[in-house]
Amino acid sequence: MTLAFVEREGSDPTEETLEMLTLARELADGDGESLDVVAFAGGSRLSVDELGAYGVDEVYHVVHDRLDGYAPEAWGESVAQLASDVDPSAVVAPGTDRGHEVLAHVGATLDVPMAANCIGIDVVEDGAYELRRNRWGGSLIEHARLEAGTTLLTPAEHEFPIEKAESTTDPSESEFTPSLEDTQFRVQVERVERADEEGIPLGEARVVIGGGRGVGGPDAYDQLEELADLLGGTVGASRAAVNEGWRPHDDQIGQTGAKISPDIYIPCGISGAVQHMVGCKGAETILAINTDPEAAIIQKADYAVIGDLHEIVPELNDTIREA
């Protein structure tokens, strides 16, 4: 059996969860075994209606009087206890902050290996897994062999499509109550503070204008802001620009920043380091503006303009405004 840890928003599974279920179902089908999921009750409960479309056979609701909110250690311990009871060959979690955190606790509790960021998995003879996983934010792939009583896996972000199962199932439901101790509640969410969202978040923007070291200073970002406004987009930055203190870290695109997937990304004065490019892999079209025709970004872009962004961007703004 494959056991999948489901994150929910209200009573619905999150998008990342549905992506993860594509991987989990591949594993279960490959083994000819069942696909079971575990979700935490509290406030509301995961609705099982939709899950049948994704081939889920059984839903375990974790029910516990102290488990109202998120508590990483207690959640990890609960999943580990359930896993010890139902003995899955694999436990899969979404490739999110929470998915990784909960699964790492399961790994520590069961003392078994865990492989994060998987992009492809084959079950080979003797129950071992041959897998491929992302390294360096996806600019390198590692081929590895994993053998364990229980295999712990997360998919790489947006690597698996959301896909319904070939035949719909009718999931059965049951409750699972873990036995938890005080120490497992040492860490829990005390409160959630809402933030005021200004503008379009980078991850959701349809148009992103990127500014790198070539922008030369904080003031010249005004031109990029203007272009973004004209195109209904948002401004992002390279790490070099953030390190210079020109832009806040929230604007950073790349391996340790935001991942974007706009219709068009326009990097200005950005050289195209691999750690930057893994953040904009999802862009439909890349149009680079750079003084250096040899810059790596020119190889990686669809379109390029060779020249000084300080001349090109204002002229472009004027032309669009007049059009």
Binding site: R145, L146, A148, E193, E315, I320
Partner: protein, 257 residues
């Protein structure tokens, strides 16, 4: 308050990653080395917390002798002490790494260096296993929270914040604790020339790592550099002459104007 920051030496890859012929590692012939931005922030946080609350900031790595270079980066950023768990050239997996770090922390404790806060990167730059910090916490029976982007310490309690969609989760954790951080939690300082010179003369504490292995095995077979579409971009022109073509792409192809 004593704070430990754990860091990992990795190649500073440029615009393209080249592998060795045996596909076991990155060809570093022409490369420098660095650490994850998350880990630079862990060092900065360790230094800032000890500047605010007293005590000492300590950096630790498990890696080859050459990793003293990254420890010295930490010292130049005003960490007080550095420990190398000297592990040779082979990369250790996350479980063995965590076990070795936990054992190293116990040894340091026996030698009088007790830590109130153990800081890690949320994930390493190269391997991104998302687990070493959590496993160290489990071995040492310490509370642990990951992915933190804001940290305050008050009266022995860490108030840690994690970004979630639409806001922040707030955690309050009694120290000692393990916290893994993300870039953006602070702005790491640039070390001055003078600080770098001083760091070069500072002692690095060297130890033999020991690790216990658990059930199951994870073995790296080989690395692969994915084919990146080396499609030379269509050049729309030089300088402002290109503007009309850019507008054309925006209008007819991407349809954003």
């Amino acid at each position: 308050m004593n704070v430990l920051a754990c860091i990992k030496r990795v190649p500073n890859t440029g615009a393209k990653i080249v592998l060795t012929d045996d596909e076991q590692r990155i060809d570093t012939t022409n490369l420098g080395f660095t650490m994850s931005p998350h880990e630079e922030c862990a060092i900065e946080e360790a230094v800032q917390q000890t500047e605010a609350h007293g005590g000492s900031a300590h950096v630790l790595t498990l890696g080859p002798e050459e990793a003293t270079e990254q420890l010295r980066t930490g010292l130049a950023m005003q960490a007080d002490e550095a420990t190398l768990l000297e592990a040779g050239d082979e990369e250790w997996g996350p479980r063995a790494t965590a076990s070795a770090i936990a054992n190293g922390v116990r040894e340091l404790g026996d030698d009088g260096a007790e830590f109130d806060l153990l800081l890690f990167g949320n994930e390493s730059a190269d391997a991104a296993n998302y687990q070493v910090g959590t496993r160290v916490a489990a071995e040492l029976d310490l509370p642990c929270v990951t992915g933190i982007k804001s940290l305050d310490v008050e009266d022995g309690t860490a108030i840690a914040r994690r970004e979630v969609s639409g806001g922040e989760e707030v955690y309050e954790i009694a120290l000692p604790a393990v916290i893994t951080v993300k870039e953006g939690i602070n702005e790491p300082r640039y070390a001055s020339m003078r600080a770098k010179m001083q760091a070069r003369r500072q002692d690095v504490d060297r130890r033999e790592p020991t690790a216990d292995t658990g059930a199951g095995t994870y073995e790296k077979v080989r690395l692969e550099a994915p084919e990146t579409a080396e499609s030379e971009a269509e050049i729309l022109g030089d300088g402002t002459d290109a503007v009309a073509n850019v507008v054309d792409v925006l209008e007819s192809e991407v349809e954003v104007i």
